[in-house]
Every structure is written in C-alpha cells, then in structure tokens.
C-alpha cells in the first residue's frame, strides 16, 4: 500500500489521498472540518499521523505545508463586493432552478419554457439548449464534481440524462406517474435519484440507463431528496410531514423521521453524514441523528412556514429561511440561534452558504437577493434589479460569483 499523491480540498477543508492498494488506484479523504486559521498545524498533523498510516514520517512536512495553505485560505480577508455582470434574457418563460458545475465555469437554468440551458459563466454566452421535455423543466443537477453530465426533472413525469459537452440526451427515465420535482446525483456519479409528486422516488443507473429501485413508503408527494456524501444513504422529504432515510443498496427504508406537524420543505445531510436537518411548514426545523434516526433538537424562532434549510459545507452551521421574511443561522452543535437575518420585505424562498461558510445568500419574493455575514447576520449587500420574484440562487465554488434565477424570465450573473 503506497501513497501516490496528496491533494488539497478547500471546501470543506480536507486533504485527499491518492494511493495504491493491491495494485488498484484508490482515493480517500482526511476531513479537517474543525480547522481554524489559528489551529496548531504541527500538532494537528501529528494527530493525523496517529490515525492514518499512509502519512509516513517522510510526508509530514508536506502535510504541514498543505494544512497551512488551507489555513491561509480560511483566514483570507473577505471583502468582495458583488456587481451585476450580465443580465441573461435566458428563457421566454419563468426560470425554475439554477446550478453551477464544480469549477463554476458553466451553469444551468431550468424553465417553464420546457428547456434547460447551459451557460458559460465567464462570457455569459449560451452554450447549449437541452430540448426534449414536454413540460416545465423544474429540477436540474450536474454530476459534480465531474460535471460532464446533467440531469433534468420535468412536469412531463420524466427525467433526462444529458451530456454537458455535446447536449446529447443519453437516456430518458420513464416510470413516474406524476411530475418529477427533484433530481440528484450521488457524489460517486453512478446513480441519479428522482423524486416525484407520485409519492415515490427512484434510483437510476446512469451507465445502463435503467431503474435500479423504487423507494415507496411515503403517503404524499416527495419534494426533496439528498444523498449523503458516502452515497450509501438517501433521504426523501415529503408533504406527508415526514422524512425517510433509505439504504441505497437495497432500497429499504431504514428510518422514518416523524415529528413535524406540517409539510417538509427541505432535508439535508451534513458533510460527515452524522446529522440530518429538516425544515417544515410547521415553522420549525429539526435536527436528527442520521445513524439512528432519533430526534436531537427542534430549532424554533420563525413565526411562519420555513421554506428552505441548509448546512454549511463543513456541517457546523444551519441556515433557515421563512415566509416571515427573515432567515436564521443556528450552531449545529449547540443548536443555538447565532444570527437573525432581517431586511427582506417579503418571504424568502431559498437560502445557501458560500462554500467557505462565512457568507449567506437569500432569494426573496421582494425581487432582491441579499448577501449576509453568516456570523453576525449583518446584511452586506442587496442584489436588486430583477423585476419579479427570485426563485433560485447559487454561489460558485470559489464564492466570488453568484447567479440568480427569476420569475421575470432572466438570469443574472453577479461578480
């Protein structure tokens, strides 16, 4: 067993190891989720060495160097102000969702005009139009980190798999009996999962183009799904007020997270797959143990329905947004509310962290997106200009580009 190469992973902080075992090339990662600019790098690396035999004495200096580079990145002063770079008259009908590939070199937009478009981030030029769906393209996803494939979920009840490079449609996945409203690739890029208003989710093999398994058990529409990073589990959130945890290999339901008193709006794993966060129309957010399915805490504070919830990349903070026009940040470990983001004049429908985790982006029906300091809750910028409500927003991986997708049929790029 020999180590071949060490690679940096900025977000969440970690070191990737490429090594050979029994003649086979393999990779694994050392997650440094708690790394801070002032962490003692030498002590940390010595600790890593005790748990990881691949890091032999001869690699020690190199690993210390890598850790210090991660610390530099974390400590970099962040005073980037965003300016409108381009307005893309993207579609002839409202946009639905938007998503970046891993490097941020291109992004995709879905629309009521039944297409998904691929855009070059640098120039704002349209690279390709993915045509073929017979109804609204609602859910879209890249198979990040690779980014060579795109999945689209449509109100036409199908999901399509496309080549990013050529725009060719590899497969049309048929089998759902109602709208497909969520799609996701596993991180290993072997499966695509689809969730539908028909109350089921399905897993599809992207090589063979075949259905692998149907996840049935919910009694109402599935509106969100998410793989864990290791790819052995997937969660589905439903209008039946519950979230189900499924074993990807067998399609068996492992846990049903019961407790919310309203429809689920979103559900996510944290990076190390130990926690699940769920947001609900019952105005609360809940935290669950992902292994046992037991309830850990209920995060309260919002006075109206919660429309979106997410972890930061390292899984240390949770952000929620609500019909009450505010957003909140909670510490995942203490479950205390650490910041209230107030300023939007109407409901906030989307929220996300930048990959570094120190900024939050919100999209609202007040036609603006806002940028916030994740630690203090201070509003840093109002991104205005859309002429109708904003349905979706995203950061690129470096955190220096934002895209917003609106009901006004345009997409805006902010640098």
């Amino acid at each position: 067993m020999g180590l071949k190469r060490l690679l940096l992973r900025y977000y969440p902080p970690g070191i990737m190891l490429e090594y050979v075992q029994d003649g086979e090339p393999k990779t694994k990662s050392i997650d440094l989720l708690n790394l801070r600019p002032d962490t003692d790098a030498i002590a940390l690396v010595e600790e890593i060495q005790r748990g990881e035999p691949l890091i032999t004495a001869s690699y020690k200096e190199h690993v210390i160097h890598l850790v210090r580079r991660l610390q530099e990145k974390l400590g970099e002063k962040e005073d980037h102000m965003f300016h409108l770079f381009k307005i893309l008259r993207a579609h002839i009908l409202p946009l639905t969702n938007v998503a970046f590939n891993k490097s941020g070199s291109c992004f995709i937009t879905g629309s009521y005009d039944r297409t998904c478009k691929v855009w070059d981030t640098e120039s704002g030029e349209e690279l390709r139009t993915l045509e073929g769906h017979r109804n609204v393209v609602y859910a879209i996803a890249f198979n990040n980190p690779y980014g060579d494939k795109i999945a689209t979920g449509s109100f036409d009840k199908t999901c399509k798999l496309w080549s990013t490079e050529t725009g060719e449609c590899y497969y049309t996945f048929r089998g759902h009996s109602a709208e497909v409203v969520c799609v996701s690739f596993n991180l290993q890029s072997t499966l695509v999962a689809t969730g539908s208003m028909d109350t089921t989710a399905k897993l599809w093999d992207i090589e063979k183009g075949e259905e692998v398994v149907t996840l049935s058990g919910h009694s109402a529409e599935i509106i969100t799904l998410s793989f864990n990073t290791t790819g052995d589990k997937i969660i589905t959130g439903s209008f039946d007020h519950t979230v189900a945890v499924w074993d990807v290999g067998t399609g068996r339901m492992l846990h049903n997270l019961v407790g919310h008193q309203g429809e689920i709006s979103n559900a996510q794993f944290n990076w190390d797959c130990s926690l699940i966060v769920t947001g609900s129309m019952d105005k609360t957010c809940m935290l669950w143990n992902a292994m046992t399915g037991t309830h850990i805490a209920t995060l309260t504070g919002h006075s109206e329905e919660i429309l979106d919830v997410c972890f930061d990349y390292a899984g240390q903070r949770i952000a929620t947004c609500s019909v009450d026009g505010s957003a909140r940040v909670y510490d995942a470990e203490t479950q205390k509310c650490i910041a209230k983001l107030e300023g939007h004049s109407s409901e906030i429908s989307k929220i996300c962290f930048n990959p570094k985790g120190n900024r939050i982006l919100t999209a609202s029906s007040d036609k603006t997106a806002r940028l916030w300091d994740a630690a203090t809750g201070q509003c840093l910028q109002v991104l205005g200009g859309h002429t109708d409500e904003i349905f979706s927003c995203a950061f690129n991986y470096s955190g220096n580009i934002i895209i917003t997708g609106s009901k006004d049929n345009t997409c805006r790029i902010w640098h």
């Binding site: 009521y112 039944r114 208003m197």
Partner: protein
Amino acid sequence: MGLLSILRKLKSTPDQEVRILLLGLDNAGKTTLLKQLASEDISHITPTQGFNIKSVQSQGFKLNVWDIGGQRKIRPYWRNYFENTDILIYVIDSADRKRFEETGQELAELLDEEKLSGVPVLIFANKQDLLTAAPASEIAEGLNLHTIRDRVWQIQSCSALSGEGVQDGMNWVCKNVSAKKK
C-alpha cells in the same frame, strides 16, 4: 410565492380548494381580472411574460387562480398548466372585433384538449365599459358556443376594470364547482 408554493398549489386539491385556469389572448384583461378578484390595485398592469397566481376566498372555497400570459409565442406553453384544472375561465376583449376569429380558434383548440375534457368553461366577454364592445350574445353566436355539448359553459359580460359582472361570473364558477366536487 416561491417554487415550493407552486408545488403545493400543483398537487391535486383537497375538497375545498379549486384550481382555476385563466386563459385568453394577450390584452384580453386576464391579469386585470385576477387583480380585481383579489381586490388589488389595477392601475399598473403590464403584459404577463409568464404567469401569476392568486388565491381568493369565495363562498367557502379557496380559489387558486392561475393567470397565464396570452402572447402568441407563449400560447404553446398553456399546456404546462392544464393538470388538475377544475374550471377554465376564458377571457375575450369584446371590443377587439378584428381578433374574434383568432380568439375563437384558440378557444376551440382548448376545448379539444384531452386534459381539459369535461372541465366547465366560463367565458368572460370583457371590456364592456368600452362603447365599441360587442354584446355577449353576439360573441356567443360568433364563437358558436351553442355547439359545446361535452361540458357546462356560460358566457358572462363584464368589465374587469370596473368590476361589473365579475362577481356574477364567479357565482357561476362556485355553483359549478360544488356540483363537480360533490
């Protein structure tokens, strides 16, 4: 509203909720009608590039009204919104006689849609506040409405601007919804 709210309004509606689709040519007055129903300001209305959704309470029902843009290039996308429709409201600019043929054709095509088969249709002969407006009877005849046999239908003259006739039309809607939902 947000995408999630759209999904909530998309699902097959429970007993007391009604999904109403508001269609018609561009400039027929659909958005004005929608805002009149919701008692909102109607002084600054621009052509609808996509859709508007409003929920209004009427006679014990929650009416979820979907107002869909009517410009020619986006008419092919009307089909996006057909699913689970309880009532179709078709709006006509009664003063735009030059386009009676065009609007009649669009209506005929809608009535042929499988997903809208049997769905009750209310036709609003709008803009009766204009002196040049054709009366509802003339429009009914021009559009051969009497040949509609596969569903209940009604034509109602109205002015979305003044609100006159709008409530009469909505009363018909509620009456026919309760007949259907029972």
